[in-house]
């Protein structure tokens, strides 16, 4: 993959996070809808085992919910780009270590 392709892909992800995610449908998703209609939605309320820094994709300190969502999206995109490349690098390194041992 060339630098240009990587940039285009990353820009597209950032564009979706910045400009589309704030306008996502706020209706419950399939699982939430069924949990509500079958009467077990409340079982999941307040049961989180660990505190999350940005619950529900809301970046703290912003009055505008849309802006808070956008910023959470951008942060998540950057974290996942780093994580995805990082894991791929480690896997690649393991492969070349293995090859060196064989030869």
């Amino acid at each position: 993959m060339k630098r240009k392709d990587i940039l285009i892909g990353l820009m597209l992800a950032l564009f979706i996070a910045l400009f589309l995610s704030p306008f996502a449908s706020t209706w419950p998703d399939g699982l939430e809808r069924i949990a509500a209609s079958k009467g077990f939605l409340e079982k999941g309320e307040g049961k989180n085992r660990i505190p999350s820094p940005l619950p529900d994709y809301k970046f703290p300190g912003f009055k505008s919910e849309k802006l808070a969502t956008s910023l959470s999206g951008v942060l998540g995109v950057l974290i996942l780009f780093g994580l995805g490349c990082g894991i791929a690098c480690l896997l690649r390194k393991r492969k070349s270590d293995h090859e060196t041992r064989i030869h």
Partner: protein
Amino acid sequence: MHIPDGFLTSATWVPAWLLSMGGIGYSLKKASQTLRERMIPLMGVMSAFIFAAQMVNFPVMSGTSGHLLGGVLAAVLLGPYAGAIVLTCVLIVQCLIFQDGGLTALGANIFNMSIVGTMGGYGVYKIISGNSGNRKAVLAGTALASWFSVVAASSCCAIQLALSDLSPLTVVLPAMAGVHAVIGVGEAMITTVVIGFVLKVRPDLLYGLPLKPTNESSFLLQDENLKEDAL
């Protein structure tokens, strides 16, 4: 279909954790054997893209929304193993940072979306599209596998809910599969458009396709790539 904490009993989420750890361990091993240099940034881009796309819920019927799962999208470009790893990265970040999906339920969510949705979806894609690299076969396989991946993942989710005594299987399975059969149409549309675009501009980015040109335009494109690589 990210299951939160509190839904699943430990008799369900503990085995789900073990199953998905086994599946991801196997994926890491297989991916390290097949990973090519050029796939490194692609794994980063796909992780970022699927995370962003999963934030964008679209309405599917009155009062219900759905969003892209992305498993087949990742697997068509990266293969089933690296694809499952990408989906798992997305689920881990969503759980730990954004409280989307519970920590106890993370194993079940990885099982449903990374193992069943991504690796299972890739199996369906491969059966339909074959090895020819024919554009129509690739796109038909992508569309059907995308739809299947969402319905299969949601059915597994329904089984886990029933095992946790939240609702009888005869009630929750048709309900989950029914809603996700509609969400799956959105999944198929988005995935096919993205794969169709990649197939047009960079067909060499698709996993496991023969590199020999299938028509004149892709021949020219590969020729250009070779020139760029040589420079």
